[in-house]
C-alpha cells in the first residue's frame, strides 16, 4: 500500500512540474534553445564542433553583450549517437520537458527526418539542421541549413561540364544516406548534359581499405572522380590513388568534405584535389565575419581549432540571433519564423548577403577551390545552383 501511495505521489509530482507559459522557451530574461546531436557514434566529432565550438561560441558573445532584447540564450544538447529513435526521444524531451523555443542545428538525415513530423505538428521551428538531403525541403517550420545535396551536385556538374569541358565522371561514395543522396542527383544532372557515370563505387563507413574501389575507378578511366566520403575514408581514397600512381584523374570533393580536416589527414596526397566549398577558409579568410569567428574562438574556446563544422554552428547561431532581434521584444515562434522568412540581404560577413525566401533555403551557393601547398585556393566566384 505504501508503494501505491509513493507511486501516486511521484506521478502527481511529475504531472505538476509542467508550468503553462505564453510562449514556450522565452522568458523576460532567457531564451532556451536546443538540439539532439551526435556526441558519440560515427559523427561525434562533427556534433561536438557544431554545438560547443560553434553555436555556444556565438551565443557567449551575444550573452556577454547583454543578450537579445535583454534575454540571454541558454542551450541544451542531448546525445543521439546518430540513432533516429534517440533523436526522437531527445527532441520530445527538449520540447516537452526542457520547453525549448526552437531546435537549432541538429545533425544527420535520419535523426532529423525522424523528428520532422513531430516538430511540424507542434509548430516548433527547426533551424539550420546540419544535413543536406531534401527531406527538410518545403516544411513550414524548417529553415534549411546546408546547401542541399541535389543543389551541390548540380553546381559541381554544371561547372565541370560547361566550364571545364570534362566528359567522363565517376564517384566513390559512402554507403549511407550521405553518399546515396549525391548519387541520384549526379546521375540526373549528368543526364541533362547527355552524360552518365562511368563508375560508382561504394565504401562502407569505417572501412579499412579502399584499394579495390580505387582500382575499379581507374579501370573505368574516369577523368573526374567525385569523392563523397567523410574525412577519414576520403583521405584514404586519396592516399590509395597515390599508392597506385593514378594521376590522370581529377579528384573532386563534395561540399561537406571540403574542409581542412580532410586535407590534414591526406597530407601531400591531397595536392591538386579540387572541390566545392560551401564556406570561406575558416583559418585564413580575411572576411570580417571570419575574423570575428576566430577572435571569438580565441576568447571563449582557446583549445578549439577553426573548422567548417564549427563555422556552421556559429553561422546558425548568428542567423537565429538576427531573426530573434528582428522579431522584436515579443518573441514568439510565429514572429521568429516571419522575421526569418522575410530576411533580405542580411550581411553575415561570412557568406554573400543572406535572403530567406518562401522556400526557406537560404544557402544555395558554393565556390570552386583547388588544393595547393596545403591550402584550398579559391578558383571561382560564388557559383549558384538556381
Amino acid at each position: 500500500m505504501r508503494l501505491v501511495v509513493s507511486l501516486v505521489s511521484v506521478l502527481l509530482l511529475l504531472a505538476g512540474s509542467a508550468p503553462v507559459r505564453a510562449e514556450q522557451g522565452v522568458t523576460d530574461t532567457e531564451i532556451v534553445l536546443g538540439c539532439s546531436n551526435s556526441f558519440t557514434g560515427p559523427l561525434a566529432f562533427t556534433g561536438e564542433q557544431l554545438t560547443k565550438f560553434g553555436i555556444d561560441l556565438y551565443f557567449k558573445g551575444v550573452n556577454d553583450a547583454g543578450g537579445i532584447h535583454g534575454r540571454k540564450v541558454r542551450t541544451v544538447y542531448y546525445d543521439d549517437g546518430y540513432k533516429p529513435q534517440e533523436a526522437v526521444a531527445n527532441t520530445k524531451k527538449l520540447v516537452d520537458q526542457d520547453k525549448v523555443f526552437a531546435i537549432l542545428s541538429p545533425q544527420g538525415t535520419a535523426p532529423v527526418a525522424a523528428t520532422l513530423e513531430y516538430l511540424e505538428q507542434n509548430r516548433v521551428p527547426l533551424l539550420f539542421p546540419y544535413q543536406g538531403s531534401p527531406v527538410t525541403r518545403g516544411k513550414k517550420y524548417v529553415v534549411n541549413g546546408m546547401v542541399l545535396y541535389d543543389r551541390q551536385a548540380k553546381m559541381m556538374i554544371d561547372y565541370l561540364v560547361l566550364q571545364r569541358k570534362f566528359k567522363k565522371f565517376a564517384t566513390i561514395y559512402q554507403d549511407d544516406e550521405y553518399g546515396k543522396a549525391f548519387l541520384v542527383p549526379f546521375e540526373q544532372n549528368l543526364a541533362r548534359h547527355g552524360l552518365k557515370l562511368v563508375g560508382a563505387e561504394s565504401v562502407k563507413r569505417g572501412a579499412t581499405d579502399v584499394s579495390a574501389q580505387i582500382a575499379k575507378l581507374q579501370a573505368a578511366k574516369a577523368e573526374v572522380t567525385f569523392v563523397v566520403l567523410t574525412p577519414g575514408p576520403g583521405a584514404q581514397a586519396l592516399k590509395e590513388r597515390q599508392k597506385i600512381g593514378w594521376t590522370d584523374t581529377l579528384m573532386v570533393s563534395s561540399g561537406p568534405l571540403t574542409d581542412e580536416r580532410f586535407l590534414g589527414l591526406a597530407g601531400e596526397a591531397a595536392e591538386g584535389v579540387e572541390g566545392l566549398s560551401l564556406w570561406p577558409d575558416p583559418l585564413t579568410s580575411d572576411l570580417p565575419g571570419l575574423r570575428a569567428y576566430r577572435e571569438a574562438l580565441k576568447t571563449f574556446a582557446p583549445k578549439g581549432e577553426p573548422n567548417r563544422y564549427a563555422l556552421h554552428g556559429y553561422f546558425a547561431a548568428m542567423m537565429f540571433t538576427e531573426g530573434a532581434k528582428r522579431a522584436g521584444k515579443t518573441l514568439t515562434r510565429e514572429s521568429l519564423m516571419t522575421a526569418l522568412t522575410s530576411m533580405k540581404g542580411f550581411d553575415t560577413g561570412i557568406l554573400p548577403p543572406i535572403t530567406i525566401g518562401a522556400d526557406r533555403e537560404p544557402l544555395t551557393q558554393g565556390f570552386w577551390v583547388r588544393m595547393e601547398k596545403g591550402r584550398f585556393r579559391q578558383l571561382t566566384d560564388w557559383l549558384k545552383s538556381e
Partner: protein, 292 residues
Amino acid sequence: MSTATLVHVVVSGLATGSIYALMALALVIIYNATRTLNFAQGDMLMVSTFAGWAAHRAWELPLIVTMLVAVAAAALLALVIERVIIRRSIAATHWDVLIITVGLSLMLRSAAGLVWTHEDQAFPSFFGDRPITLGPVKLAPVSLGIIGGSLALMLCLYGLFTHTRVGRAMRAVAQNQRGARLMGISVERVYSLSWVLAAAVGAIAGVLVAPVTFLSTKMGIVVINGFTAAVIGGFGSMPGAVAGGMLLGVIENLAPLYLPSGIRYSVPFLILVAILLVRPAGLFGRIEQRKV
C-alpha cells in the same frame, strides 16, 4: 581486371590481413591461457596507440620510441585491467569475462573520446606512400611494411613460445591448467603475462595500421575482424590465427572488386557464420571435448 591491379589489391589485402592476424593472435593468446574472450582487445589497441601518439605530439619522439611508448602503455593498461578487474572474476564463467570486457570496451572508447576527441588524427608512418614499380605491378611501401613488420612480430612470438621458459609455461597452461599448476607454474602469473603480451601485440598492430586508417576512437571495432580471423583459422590455434587473418584481409579486399555493393560488406560476417556452421573447428583447430 588486369593482373597488376589484382596483385596490388591482394597485397593491400594482405596488409590489412596482417593487422587482423595480429588482433587474432592477441585474442588467442588470452583465450589459450584463460579460456576467455577479451572483447576490449580492439579498444586497448586504440587507447595504447593514442597514448603513443600523444607522447609523440608532446615531445616529438622518433617513431620507434613512439611505438615503445604505445607498447608500454598497453602493457600497463593490461596489467591494471587484469589485476583489478579480471582477477576478481577468476572463478567466473567464460561469459562473465566476456560481458566485463564488453563493459571495458564501452568505457575505453568513451574515455578516449573525452581525452582525445572523436576526430580522425593523422599518424606518422615508418613507410612512404609513393609506389614501388616492379614491371607492370605497383606496390605501396606502406603495405609491404605492414606485412613485413607483422611477420617479424609473429616470428618473435613463435620464438617466445617455443624457446623460452615463459613461453613454454604459457603453452603448458594452455594445454592443461591443473597439470601446469602441479608442475610448479604460477597460473596467475601466466594470466597476467598473457594479458600483457596480447596488449603489446595489439599496440604494435595499432602503430602499424594507424597511418593507413588514421587514428580514431572508432578503430577498436577491429576486434570483430580479429575474432572472425581467429575463428576461420580455428580458435586457439596460432598459425590458424595468422592464416585466418591474411585470408580474411584478402577476401575482404577482393569482394568489392567482384561483388555488387549490396553484398560486399556482409562477406566477412557471412564467412564467419559459414565457418561456424560448416567447420566450427576452423581450418587448423581441433574440436575441444566438453568435460563435465
